[in-house]
């Protein structure tokens, strides 16, 4: 069976403080100067049960980029779920799939309110995915609850188990593994029901060693501290979600250490401390002239490296995003948001940039 979604964006609407050097390669490649319309995600998902104990989930993205060539088909998910019991409470997930770290990482971009994931948690795993074997357990009743939280448009994460454990390569999705050791990850979460209000609380962490790419030049001699690569990459996080019935709140925070320069002007790459999180408030308004509206405001903080970028630059991110999602039809959503951003640029020499952006996105679900 086929389904999918596509996100079209236009980021050049007027804002109070335009800064053409404000760019964010991980979040949205259509920021910064010389941009116009963009296809942010173009997903087609092939999924189904191939046996009562085996199901597949194959998701290429048709809006991926190889150097200057846009819109190449590259994998996101490509995994099989192997159910260990007939009630499907215990399962192994083999292949490339999301690493169970954090809540927003696991929530589909199809369901997320904010335009992009927060830097604090998302810097843990580029594209949220890696290649490995994961074990998930969730009782039937909670599996149903995970499903309902998505189906009722309460912006759930879907079912990544109440307990999730895994081992994976650690160099992030669609990249060659570059060392001989694996990352390990663990996560526990529970969607409580208080009366009619769903509240989900979770915690988790991962540990591994990451192989960084440095690209030194005469004026910017980026180098590994002591010449040693395969740097310690480890984090712990907590998350809280109060589902929007109608008022909602979600927050996550993580601390740890990972590959990073020491900041602007420091060219030494080492495993350094990092910390950050976000908090978001939202309000779900149903049947406003026949449509559903969800205004939201989100604040993000992050101080730490992005290990998967060349030279593992250190980021200092402070962002506030105010937006509204307008679900016109089940097939059609428009989101508009105003972003106040103070962040390190994704391009060398990784300078700090302050600017605002007004963005609009049309999402088509199929």
């Amino acid at each position: 069976r086929l389904r999918g979604y596509t996100q079209f964006r236009y980021n050049r609407l007027p804002s109070f403080r335009v800064n053409e050097d404000l760019i964010n390669d991980q979040g949205d490649r259509f920021l910064g100067k010389n941009n116009g319309f963009g296809i942010r995600r173009a997903r087609l998902i092939i999924f189904g049960d191939v046996h009562e104990r085996v199901s597949i989930y194959l998701q290429p993205d048709f809006a991926s980029v190889i150097s200057d060539q846009y819109n190449v088909a590259i994998l996101r998910d490509w995994y099989a779920d192997i159910f260990l019991d007939s009630a499907k409470e215990f399962r192994l997930r083999v292949g490339q799939s999301k690493v169970p770290y954090g809540f927003e990482n696991l929530q589909s971009s199809q369901n997320r309110l904010a335009f992009d994931r927060n830097d604090a948690i998302n810097s843990a795993v580029k594209d949220e995915r890696d290649l490995g074997i994961f074990f998930y357990w969730a009782p039937s009743e909670i599996r149903k609850r995970f499903k309902d939280l998505v189906d009722n448009n309460l912006k759930g994460s879907g079912d990544y188990g109440v307990v999730g454990l895994g081992v994976y390569n650690g160099q992030t999705a669609n990249r060659p593994e570059r060392n001989d050791n694996l990352h390990v990850v663990g996560r526990v979460t529970w969607p409580f029901l208080f009366g009619k209000q769903f509240v989900e609380v979770g915690a988790g962490g991962y540990y591994g060693r990451f192989n960084v790419t440095a690209s030194p030049s005469a004026s910017a001699p980026y180098a590994l501290a002591g010449g040693e690569n395969d740097l310690v990459d480890a984090r712990a996080n907590v998350s809280l979600v109060i589902y929007p019935q109608p008022i909602g709140f979600m927050a996550e925070y993580n601390v740890g250490r990972g590959p990073s320069t020491g900041g602007f002007g420091d060219f030494t790459i080492d495993s350094r401390p990092l910390r950050g999180g976000y908090a978001q408030l939202m309000y779900k308004l149903d049947n406003v002239a026949g449509v559903s509206l969800i205004p939201y405001v989100r604040g993000t903080l992050y101080e730490g490296g992005k290990k998967f970028e060349t030279n593992a630059p250190r980021y200092d991110v402070r962002e506030l995003e105010m937006g509204v999602e307008w679900q016109i039809l089940k097939a059609l959503e428009v989101t508009a948001a105003y972003l106040v951003s103070d962040r390190t640029s994704s391009r060398a020499p990784y300078q700090q940039q302050r600017g605002d952006v007004t963005r609009i996105q049309l999402q088509v679900n199929y």
Copy 2:
């Protein structure tokens, strides 16, 4: 729902004047020396209505090229039609789709008689597509007529509206936008019915600024005139189609200005005048021993640049193509054609080449 088509070619049949330096990168990458069998197009289209007011059309091409790597999956179309009224006469098309400029650009390669599109009009938009928002209007009766002209194998363009308006990035499909302004396009067309004979007359134009890539060397110092990029790129065209019932005729002509060198030996790139068009005569023979035959002859003229090629070389093209399409089954078409060509090479130093080519193509429709 899925459909698609594939074109297999062999271009090395004997001709009166073989010229191994006669190449045409935009038209057919299997021309010139060191070639054999080729897959020119390998299309798979996923389309359908996801709501009574929303439909999607997703078309990757599996025969695209990234440097030396053939047959990579890259997008062609990826758009949603959003109908503004229940009769579906007014619609917005959002995403990557064909730019409504000219007739042959909009006609599917699945339906075109000639092996490749004409240089005169096709030089306006590489791959015929760009990323943007387009508005189309056509009365229900004319929408049906557009559909019939394709279904009855009269080689129509499909429904791009009687009126089409749009804004788009302007750097052509699957390429990063490289400036902050958009292209605008407008087109009007009408398929008249005189007795039983369909005749379509159209006109349109576009305006924008295009960012050129120059690749200078010591011996060939290509450079932008005055060092300024984002050159004016604007055209107007007219088209006439007399559908083959059984005799048919089609012609288009366009004038304008766009990025271009001054010709062979002139290394200055500037916005320069361009002009050109084509005329084609065809005859539809049905039920010739159970199959359908359409012989055709087409002449093309073009003087102007190809903005999307490195250095925006100036082309001088004079071509005559004589061929016949032989529809064996609905699923299987063979086309053979003899091409007499005098054209500028697509490779530096962009010399003029005179040669003939005999080509055969098998098209499979599914």
Copy 3:
């Protein structure tokens, strides 16, 4: 209609003689140091009859690699079968498809027991495929037999005709043709039935000229002998398959000449003699505690070049693989094997390497 399969691997299980320099780019890119989990094949096949005389078979692989970018969608098969008679005994296959040379090359990786194809025969055609036109003939009764040999999990090759003839570009799949001549191939095979035992005997050969890529450096001056490229590339092979009912045996051998260096330290590339083959013993155990088990042992020998690799290095390969395929469900197979290998490295300076590897693979069929 859609079907496909995926192979996930982990190659770093303990072995008696670990050699991190033992790599084999054609066979398994997840060998050697700095590796972990890998997706070896991620296939999705779209196939069907579009007319009683025309069928299509479109197979992209989503685990292909472009330089450092893993998991890009690139073609494997993309062809149409055109049946010349209503009994479908005679057919033309047009497009990119498997070159009918050898048995194991034609057998799907979905059905093969060993982890990778043998070097001896597989060095004839990278990815087993090329672009061209092939003619196949098989009587209806034998077509059914070919089908049964696959359906009953006897590890057949599928129907590539009792007689197969073809012309193709010769530079192997998804690569530009680089000369003006074509390769020709012919093959005859017959699946005999002795009582209840199926035995298949085949023979074939091909001839063409291959254009080699040399990458010389100061210390390694790789060069074409006499400066001439388009080297003779010709082989003949014989194959014998005794299908596992329950004991099975298969062997192939080929001799010929093809582009190759003279071995380690010889930098001259010329058309040189090559020879090699493999023999495999297997035993099909059905209903062992509800599942099917097939242990196998395979020995491979090859002395000759790999024309499609840069510099066409000469290989000396001696390998022994002992493994077992465990078919848990129709949808799920696990294979584990121990490989004893003495082979030339795929990377310059192409040194001989001796080492063992223990591998495990999960295959999901859908």
